[in-house]
């Protein structure tokens, strides 16, 4: 008889929210590297079409990932404000000292 699988983390929503925050932090760094990537391509042949496709594809991809991340974060923040995920509490916000 298969044993029923237990969730590894109790505060699953909190864990998910933190990973989404990590994603939101790393995304602009990843985006900057992605947008500078064509500079490393060898300039041997005219690659105007490849550059156009790459840049617009990267731009659209960044927007899509940002939309997914921000939607997830907005949902997580809303559920946190609703008191459904207050088991572990939110990490201290460093907004006032981070700039």
């Amino acid at each position: 008889m298969p044993q029923q699988r237990q969730p590894l983390f109790l505060a699953r929503a909190n864990y998910r929210k933190r990973r989404l925050r990590d994603g939101a932090r790393i995304l602009p760094v990843f985006g900057a590297m992605l947008l500078c990537w064509p500079l490393l391509w060898p300039a041997t042949a005219p690659q105007i079409v490849a550059h156009w496709l790459f840049l617009f594809g990267a731009w659209a991809g960044l927007i899509a990932v940002a939309a997914v991340l921000s939607r997830g974060l907005a949902d997580a923040e809303n559920s946190a404000h609703g008191g459904q995920d207050s088991l572990a509490g939110s990490p201290p916000d460093d907004a006032m000292h981070g700039l």
Binding site: L27, G31, C36, L39, I48, W59, L62, S70
Partner: protein, 288 residues
């Protein structure tokens, strides 16, 4: 196009913007601030990054430098994608410190220093004045480009400076009516934001029209001209023709510009009525 129709269209367009701003202002005065929380108004108002000059500047830049023009929009895209890092904190600090301008923000980081605030304001005014002149020039150039060359009645005699004075007067009137007339501690102007949002749609349609015209009309005409005159079309610049330092530098400068330009700071931070709007806006910035 007859010049009278051009003037009539401009007056009707400006009247529409005034009416819209007055309507939004009245609605917010009656407690309907929800208009700014609309999922369309706020992101559209961010298009103020693209000014009247963009119509000439961006198109000319693209024609002259090819892909390099994209850097002006890639920097802001990165800023909006990284809203969690900077924009969210900026809005939160702006709210906590009751910041109403970029000068106010910088001075508030140094104990609300008046001297520093005055200095930053002077720098912003000195930098913005030629920029406003450029905007006025773009409007007068549009008038000069659209007007008929043959009838040299009233308009041609006064030259294009007359248009610049009228436009500057209209802008000042708009600013007084919907900006400085309202003394609010949070310096939020719902009427102006709504008018900017409507104008954004017009600008988007105009730039798309230029793109369609170039792709469908001017491109083929240029090819035919080249075939007839046996000349080689100049190749469009790609990333390889741009130096790495210039490419990354322009992205960095444009990313800084969208945060520090006075008009962008006003819309991004001061006019932001709810910090939680950012998660919904992060994916909406389009390099038009």
């Amino acid at each position: 196009m007859p010049f009278n129709i051009l003037v009539l269209a401009c007056i009707l367009y400006v009247a529409l913007l005034f009416l819209l701003a007055a309507w939004a202002e009245g609605k917010s005065a009656r407690g309907g601030a929800g208009i700014l929380r609309s999922p369309f108004i706020y992101p559209l108002s961010l298009s103020i990054y693209c000014t009247a000059w963009t119509f000439y500047g961006a198109v000319g830049y693209a024609a002259r430098s090819g892909l390099e023009f994209l850097t002006i929009y890639l920097g802001p895209t990165l800023v909006f994608v990284g809203w969690w890092w900077v924009l969210r904190k900026l809005v939160r600090i702006g709210r906590a410190q009751r910041v109403t301008s970029i000068a106010d923000l910088i001075s508030s980081r140094f104990g609300k220093s008046n001297l520093l605030g005055v200095l930053v304001t002077l720098i912003a005014v000195a930098a913005a004045t030629p920029y406003i002149a450029l905007q006025l020039q773009s409007v007068t150039q549009s008038f000069a480009g659209v007007r008929q060359p043959t009838p040299r009645r009233a308009w041609a005699l006064r030259g294009t400076d007359g248009a610049a004075v009228w436009v500057a007067g209209g802008l000042a009137l708009f600013t007084i009516l919907f900006g400085t007339r309202n003394l609010a501690s949070n310096e939020q102007h719902h009427g102006i934001v709504t008018a900017i949002a409507v104008e954004a749609v017009v600008k988007l349609v105009a730039l798309l029209a230029v793109g369609v015209f170039v792709c469908l009309g001017a491109w083929r005409a240029g090819q035919r001209l080249c075939a007839a005159t046996d000349c080689m079309p100049r190749p469009i610049g790609d990333v390889a023709t741009c130096s790495p330092a210039r490419w990354t530098g322009l992205i960095l400068v444009s990313a800084a510009a969208i945060l520090t330009l006075p008009r962008m700071f006003q819309v991004l931070v001061v006019e932001n009525s709810d910090e939680r709007i950012w998660p919904r806006q992060a994916g909406r910035f389009r390099p038009i």
